[in-house]
Symmetry: C2
Subunit: 155 residues, 2 copies
């Protein structure tokens, strides 16, 4: 892609519909999100918790005033690795109309730099086994798939 | 095992040497921890951060006054899944002298109940691909290895 001026910044309350739209516009996400107008209140209360916690940074990528990408960066204090800080990335999305243009890669690089600035020694994420393109994308960014990611629903 | 009275509780400052000993007493952990007397200060400053953050619970299992197990439970507010809370478990260890006696399983069940009480809808963890016994252990507890866990060192 030709270089365009993408702004990366913390998400604001008003960005939430754009964020949820991107989370929902995806094979896995469409089964679990509710992109409605107005948005379910639960999204706003989660946003408040994230926004009030300095260990959380909900990031958006903005192009020409429009939100076209998002991810959630979390800093995790940890005893292991001699008490060093970890960073974790969740909920990475680029608007479908802007995919395959290097925006996700730019957003990840910006975030990894940010994580390093804040003192994290490692950045971790999990990605569904079915997202094979995502595995390659993260490998190109220097990630290694050394772990198995396991989940259990709490009933 | 016969039922023994294991107490699960939040870790205190004085438990830190026992916790670091268990983290270090492991093929992977031995390469990255420093179990020394006194412990490196970085462990104590990480403990303070964890202890002062209500989204973090560093748990220990105590038997006859001795700390024989540990894990780190983290609550993650999240926009995805309609803003529902997630739980994450890190740094799970049982003292080698007490392994294969069901203590890890009891500790995990206690923790999953705790996570549910605090409103988490899912509990997630990653485990190194080489820890095949751990994969089976978590599967027996209801975890599914649906994800690839990827990490990148920040240089």
């Amino acid at each position: 892609m030709t270089q365009r001026d993408i702004l990366f910044r913390l998400a604001m309350h008003a960005d939430l519909p754009s964020i949820v739209r991107m989370l929902a516009d995806d094979d896995l996400g469409s089964q679990r999100e509710r992109y409605e107008n107005p948005l379910p209140e639960s999204y706003y209360s989660a946003f408040e918790k994230i926004n009030n916690d300095s260990n959380h940074e909900l990031i958006v990528a903005e192009l020409d005033g429009e939100v076209i990408g998002t991810l959630h960066l979390v800093f995790l204090p940890s005893i292991s690795f001699q008490g060093r800080l970890r960073a974790q990335i969740e909920s990475v999305r680029v608007d479908k109309r802007f995919q395959s243009q290097g925006i996700g890669s730019e957003m990840m690089k910006w975030t990894m730099k940010r994580a390093k600035q804040r003192g994290a020694h490692v950045v971790q994420l999990t990605t569904h086994k079915s997202r094979v393109d995502a595995h390659r994308f993260y490998e190109r960014l220097g990630f290694k798939g050394t772990h198995l990611g396991m989940k259990s629903r709490l009933k």
